[in-house]
């Protein structure tokens, strides 16, 4: 029913825009990762594998990447542990308060990410709210100093930020489970736990995979929380990229790290898509 001209008119402008402002920049990132910086601090447009060799040669890059993945893995785990039972409660038990609860989970997403990370800083600091509270009720005599400027603070803050992201797809998958299936399981004599474990949980795995992917990927690339709350031991891979693009002025090396991150993220998305397909029941 749509003419060729109509289809061209809706296709061409976004195609061109995305080509210029997404595909070319990402391709440029790839190119930069094979270029180098001259001693006079200008970009040399000749091709070399030096940046990738450097990544493998200097330990700190791989170490930081693994630390970032470890932080991201903990964030993923905690946001699933917080998000899944919450989603389950909302979907099966909240009754008429369902919508209200749902909105309550969404609202924090609208509050600036930076502001929430900052709020955690004011809570966790050595004269912060938590430490002064603990001393006020005489639980501790001295401020606990592991709270701020540590991987703990980064994991806590990122878990706070990404729990709603893990919650949303899980909730959606639970909402899609046909209720007669659950009732049938109950009527056939399964205990509530058996019903959950053999019926509800398998049907929600696609949502869990999507939520886990969100939490892992988004926290893997984070650079503000570590900069604000991480201290030297909480540095993540994106912080290295930021410094390479700033004071250290080595764009090509920064581009090489970014490109590796991009490959990692795309590979993870691809895998999670496969897993979701495998586990979705529709």
């Amino acid at each position: 029913m749509f003419s060729r001209a109509y289809r061209t008119a809706i296709t061409l402008p976004p195609l061109v825009w995305v080509l210029v402002f997404l595909l070319i920049p990402y391709a440029l990132l790839f190119c930069f990762s094979f270029w180098s910086v001259s001693p006079a601090q200008s970009i040399v447009h000749s091709w070399t594998f030096d940046n990738y060799r450097e990544l493998l040669r200097v330990n700190v890059y791989l170490q930081t990447l693994f630390r970032s993945m470890w932080i991201a893995a903990r964030v993923m785990l905690f946001s699933l542990l917080l998000g899944y039972p919450l989603a389950y409660y909302l979907s099966f038990h909240a009754g008429r308060r369902k919508d209200l609860f749902y909105q309550l989970v969404i609202i924090p997403l609208w509050v600036s990410y930076l502001v929430r990370a900052y709020a955690w800083k004011t809570i966790l600091g050595s004269d912060g709210v938590l430490n002064t509270l603990l001393q006020y009720v005489h639980l501790t005599q001295h401020p606990l100093d592991f709270l701020l400027y540590s991987p703990f603070a980064v994991v806590l803050t990122l878990t706070h930020i990404y729990t709603p992201f893990a919650f949303l797809p899980i909730y959606a998958s639970l909402e899609h489970i046909p209720r007669p299936l659950v009732e049938a399981s109950h009527d056939l004599g399964a205990s509530p736990f058996q019903t959950f474990w053999r019926v509800v949980f398998p049907l929600s795995i696609a949502g869990v995979v999507a939520g886990a992917t969100f939490a892992f990927v988004l926290s893997l690339g984070d650079f503000l929380a570590p900069l604000l709350l991480g201290g030297p031991s909480g540095i993540m891979i994106s912080n290295i990229v930021v410094s390479l693009f700033g004071a250290a002025y080595n764009w090509p090396l920064g581009a090489a790290i970014s490109f590796c991150m991009m490959v990692l993220v795309v590979a993870l998305l691809f895998m999670s898509e496969k897993l979701e397909k495998k586990w979705s029941f529709r």
């Binding site: 976004p14 099966f92 038990h93 004011t122 690339g221």
Partner: protein, 280 residues
Amino acid sequence: MRTEQNLFTSSRWLPWHAALVLGFLYLPIVTLIVYSFNGSGVGGFPPRDLTLAWYRLLFADEAIWTSVLNSLLVAIAAVIISLGFGIPAALALDRANFPGKALFRRLVLLPLILPGIITGLSLLMLFREADIKLSLLTIALGHGTALISVATTEVFAGLQKLDRSQEEASLDLGANYWQTFRHVTLPNLRLSIIGAALLIFTLSMDEIAVSFFLIGRDNTLPLEIWGRLRRGITPEINAISSIIFVFSLFAILIWYRLRVASEVQPEIAAELLESPAQGD
């Protein structure tokens, strides 16, 4: 009749868990607001010397308000760009076939999930190679491009619910494509588009990873806050954040009303159709 409630009896800890998670989600927000009124700064328990001094300081702070204005300009531009290209992109994904369609879909959605710094510095390289000076315009281009993903997903979802026979009727009755789009397609997508616009606006107002690399001389609000955080923390930041929170609440409220309206509308229509038959 069995209710869902007594299908699962062993769930006494679930409400407690839910309450704890919500508490965890709201703790920083509540702290933020409470300490914006705290006379003795952002730390210390209990909060004491309640005061509006930080708000007074904030209202006299020109740098902050300049950055708020900059952020508003960027957000408006981002909404225009991402809707301008996101609506046709959604239409294209819905009803056109072209080579590379699958790649195009993935590429459009990529900035949503890719760490913001990758998109930010990729665009930085583009602007550098093209010799374009960094400014608010480059930030707006960055936000607009990254958020096409949001516009496309929202509008695409709206298109799935759209009854295509209306468009067919319009075309059959002699309207051209533009008229059909303007008078049939667009009004039907109104709620998706407003929802997308609100979401894009809010996301752009908060965006920092992409802006971080594309910043010129003028700061957006998050970058202004960021700069101050590096120098030390003051309740003035709590104050501006609390104000923004209240505005976000309004945005959510509008968004929520729209969602409710979009779900209720078909029922109202059905009732209108039914009522004459019932004779009242």
